[in-house]
Structures are given as C-alpha cells and as structure tokens.
Symmetry: C2
C-alpha cells in the first residue's frame, strides 16, 4: 500500500531483533510522520558507525580506533582478562564499574552446528595473548548454557598454570525465590557457600 519506499523501509526494519512487521510499520510511520529529525539522525549515525566501527585488535570489542578504550587504558590491570561472549556482555560488566581488568570478546560461543569453532571465536589469539602478556587470572563470564559451559571447559583445558575462574550463578540479588526458575534454584543449592563465623 501507499508507496514502495515505505514498504521497503518497513521490510528493512524487520531485521532488527524483536521487531516484527507491526512494530516495523509503527516505527516507519512514526519516523516519517512525527520525528523526521530523529530519522535523519538514525540514518546518519548508522552510516557513520558502519564506516568507522571495527574490531579492537587486542580484545575484539567494537571500536572506532585500532584499540578500544579499555585496551588503551594503562591504569587497568593488564594481567587479568575477562572473557565474554558479546560486546553487550562487556558493556553490562563495565556498567557495574566494579571490574578493573581487561576483556576478550569471543563474539559467540562454541557451537559446531552453527560452524562456530575455536578459530571463529578467536581462541588461538586469546591463548597467544595469555602467554605473551603473562596473564595471571582468566575470568570466564560466559552464559550458563550447554555451549557456554563447553566454551568454558575448552578454554580451561588449553591454559596451564593460570588461575581460571567463572562468574557465580545463583539467585539474582533482590530476587524472590518463588519467582526464580527451578534450574537456577537447583544451581544455587549446588553452589552453596559456607557461612563463616568471622
């Protein structure tokens, strides 16, 4: 209906995660009808980002320079490396402000069915970095799934004489038990921590 350009815009917007045909139509009409400036901004920042954003040479995070801000930051502990699955996981950890080491972004997790092996995840480069920079601790902040577990075990098996840890899994802070799924509760019981007297 109405115009091919509108149809095409709606179709293109449906590639966005979580956006179906109805939401795409709502977005397209909103942009063209109510917020042309916003639409211009989106078009131009998308083009800019596509042209200029690349992978960080050291940690594979998205960046505009050769190295990302974290890798360039010399005040951070360069002997601790936190391995995450995606740029959004890195941003989530950064937003806590509590971690002061470096990162390594796998851009996925081991999944042979999707043709994601160690090479696609840059694991050889990670192992090289670990040797070269004499890393002392690797924190695996991977998702709690079969593939996440497999990736963690694979990395653990390929390093020697280094402390390898995993982030803890359990009940979310502030979460009420009755609303937490049974797998998480089971996991939190298995990983229970003894309370000391001190």
């Amino acid at each position: 209906m109405s115009s091919d350009l509108l149809e095409k815009l709606i179709k293109d917007l449906t590639v966005l995660p979580g956006v179906g045909k109805k939401s795409a139509q709502r977005m397209a009409l909103y942009l063209l009808d109510k917020n042309k400036n916003g639409a211009k901004e989106i078009a131009s920042s998308l083009s800019d980002a596509l042209e200029n954003i690349q992978r960080c040479k050291s940690c594979r995070m998205l960046t505009t320079n050769d190295q990302c801000i974290v890798c360039e930051d010399e005040t951070r502990d360069s002997q601790c490396i936190c391995v995450v699955e995606s740029p959004s996981d890195l941003l989530a950890i950064e937003s806590t402000g509590g971690y002061k080491g470096k990162y390594y972004v796998l851009m996925g997790r081991l999944s042979p069915l999707d043709n994601l092996g160690p090479d696609e995840l840059g694991i050889p480069q990670l192992l090289e970095t670990i040797k070269r920079d004499s890393i002392k601790e690797i924190i695996l902040a991977l998702s709690s799934t079969v593939e996440g577990d497999a990736t963690a075990i694979f990395i653990k098996d390929h390093v020697e004489n280094i402390k390898v840890s995993r982030i803890s899994y359990g009940i979310p802070i502030g979460g009420e038990l009755e609303y937490v799924d049974s797998n998480t509760i089971a996991r939190s019981i298995i990983s229970r921590v003894e309370i000391n007297d001190d």
Copy 2:
C-alpha cells in the same frame, strides 16, 4: 564505553517507539556485529524515504507522488470517504481488502491541550473535499477515546445532508468474553443489535 559513534547510534535508536536504552543497545550491536547489510539497507531506505515521501495532496496519506495510490485509483468509489487518524489506521483498513472507497487521514485527533485543533487536522480541507466531490457517505474510523469521540462529533456537526457513520465497537471476533475489558463489554451491550428472523 567503547566508542562515541556506538553511543550516539544507541541514543538515536531510542527515539523509536517502544525502544528503550537496552533494546537500542541490542539493536545497535546486532546491526554492527551480525547484520551489516541489514544496517546499510535501513540507513539507505530511511534516507530515501525521508527525501521522497510526502503527504498526498488529496487525502494526506504518506506517498512518493503528488497523490497516493488510493486517490489515483479510479475504480474506487470516490463518493465514500473514510476518515482515519493515522497512516497506520489506513493501512490496517486496506489490509482487510473489504473497503473500496477513498480515505482522509487526519494525522491526529482533536486535542486542544496538544494544540491539535481542526486546522492542524486538515478538517477545513476535508469539508471542502466533501462539498466539491459531492460525497455521499462519510465513515468515521476513529479511535474509541474521548478525543476520538470529540473529533467524530465535530465532523458530524459540520456536514449537512450526508450520511455519517461510525465503525462499530464491541467484542473482537474470536475474542472470549472473559479476556475482554469491561468497558468494551459495556459498550457492546449498549450497541447490541437485534437478531432478525430472516
């Protein structure tokens, strides 16, 4: 974190309806990391649409030409006009395939608090069209809200000797009574229709 361009893209994406900071971040990282082609398509079709899409001279629908496809279509009943609030309402009615008349898009509804009066909604132009084209029926397909009702009454009061109808409100087809809100049920009882024997 990471890069100004990424930050800007995320911020720009939050203008989209229903998109907050988390979804915008997910969209931006998905586009830059997993679907660069999709991102290019969105950027270019947004720019194309912004440059070329305008309002139809006759019905105010979005279109690439002077007149939209519906207004140009001479097989459609030009003596019946369906008044809608927005381009998406028009598309929704068109998608049923059941309506063969013309349209008029108000781009809003009467709302003095938002500075939306008859002039902003193009009601003078609508009344002119009604006279000039000797329209026989006006179907008001406006939302069932206070403003929608006010808009309907305003239009009804400004035309003479023409059949003015409103779309019916009631229980959705296939909807189960227990899941329908009480206002809709109350309305459907008030607008009950007698069953005839024929």
